[in-house]
Amino acid sequence: MPDFTMPSLGADMERGTLTRWLVEPGDRVHKGDIVAVVETDKADIEVECFDDGVIDTLLVQPGANVPVGTPLARLTSPAAAPSAPPSTAKPKPPAAKPKPPAAKPKPPAAEPKRPVPAGHPEPERGKPAPAPRRPEPATPLVQRLAEERGIDLTSVNGTGHGGRIVRADIERATRPKASPLARRLATELGVDLHHVYGSGARGVIRADDVRAAARAPRRPAEPRPAADEKQAAMRRAIGRLMARSKREIPHYYLGTTIDMGEATGWLRRRNRELPVARRLLPAAMLLKASALAAREVPELNGHWLDEKFVPGDGVHLGIVTALRGGGLVTPTLRRADELSLDDLMSALKDLLVRARSGRLRGSELDGATITVTNLGDQGVESVTGVIFPPQVALLGFGRIVQRPWAVNGLLGVRPVVTATLAADHRATDGYTGARILEAVDRLLQHPEEL
């Protein structure tokens, strides 16, 4: 026997308030009898019952506001009722339980998604990380300008006295107004809109202005204007890092000359059978030797943090990589000590190619536990580097050169390399430093074990 439920009384009715019952438990009701009054936003509406039966229990009290379909009263069949007159004795189809409102057909597809113009990459974004907040407060003028142009002062590099932010800094930080076409051309031609004069109204930069800026005489060797800006920013960042390192870390330096005869001979024999793509470079052997040595001398493989040494969670080599246009970057070769020479070589190739094309991931730029510089590649015999804080050591290798050399008392000409160590005296002292150079030397005498 179906319950009597809250009816839907209008196109947009979701809920209804029962105002009054017109029947009580025990009352006999017939199909179409008015049994209750429901309040809608228009007025009170009398509600009819759709079944014959006897009111059993009233489930909802007047004043209750319930969703459409909520059972309001329970009916029982008219057990002892006289046989219903023929016309009304219709076999009632088993009324379905009060179903939730009919599955509303999915609303017609929302208007086709409006085409949103693709976000236009701003050529200016990607400024180098903001320098820490300047102590000196910006002048009222600068405050107002920044306010007007919605610029966050902490994100502006102050070039004034003592790092103070001056008006010029604000100008440079303001987003230049340019037509969409001009902005697109600027990206395509690598023109930095900050350096383009806007010929349009209120200084708006237009396509011709960008084309003119792009056509400006550019010596092929001279780096592109945009590169200048990036170059200067990189120079500043390296400068600050090195200055801090020198200021904070009491460096001590050690050096030694290593006979590379065994290593280079082994390498040549090995490379002869291999296609060019799979040949090894001496640099790979130097890096592997350094990694294995760092594992042997853990005191040099870690970080100096709040006045104490924290050993590294593995040997992760920072590799100093010179960028052709000047400047350098130090990608990290993780777990270098566990890599085979071949794996190390291909990892090195991959890292350097991506470092040079600026496609290094953030994670690949930090986490080094010791750094190796291999500037020997550029023809310098001996390199003594500056430690990358918070690391505590840096190994340097010069160029492999032919030198007169005594082996077992006999004089001969041998390929040799000068290996150096720069270490943080707070963490270790000379004795420990020497042990890593000895390890590198010993490892290079047995290249086949690298």
Binding site: P220, R268, N271, P275, V276, L281, A322, R324, K349, D377
Partner: protein, 80 residues
Amino acid sequence: MTPRQARELAVRSLEKVAPDIDAGTVGGDASLREDLGLDSLDFLGFVEELSEGSGLRIDEDDYPELATLDACVTYLTHRA
């Protein structure tokens, strides 16, 4: 391999390894390692391109004969 094909291959290989160098306008006698600043890794990649492009097997001993673009052209025209 004709001298023109050899030069084309050499220039193409240089551009692949060092895209930022305007290989077309580089002097034929400029040293790849010193003047153009190719480090050992770049040079290895350059040699790899040359050998693939010419089908030649280039040994480490021959590296000195590939110091400049002109040298590469003569090396390739004789060998390929």
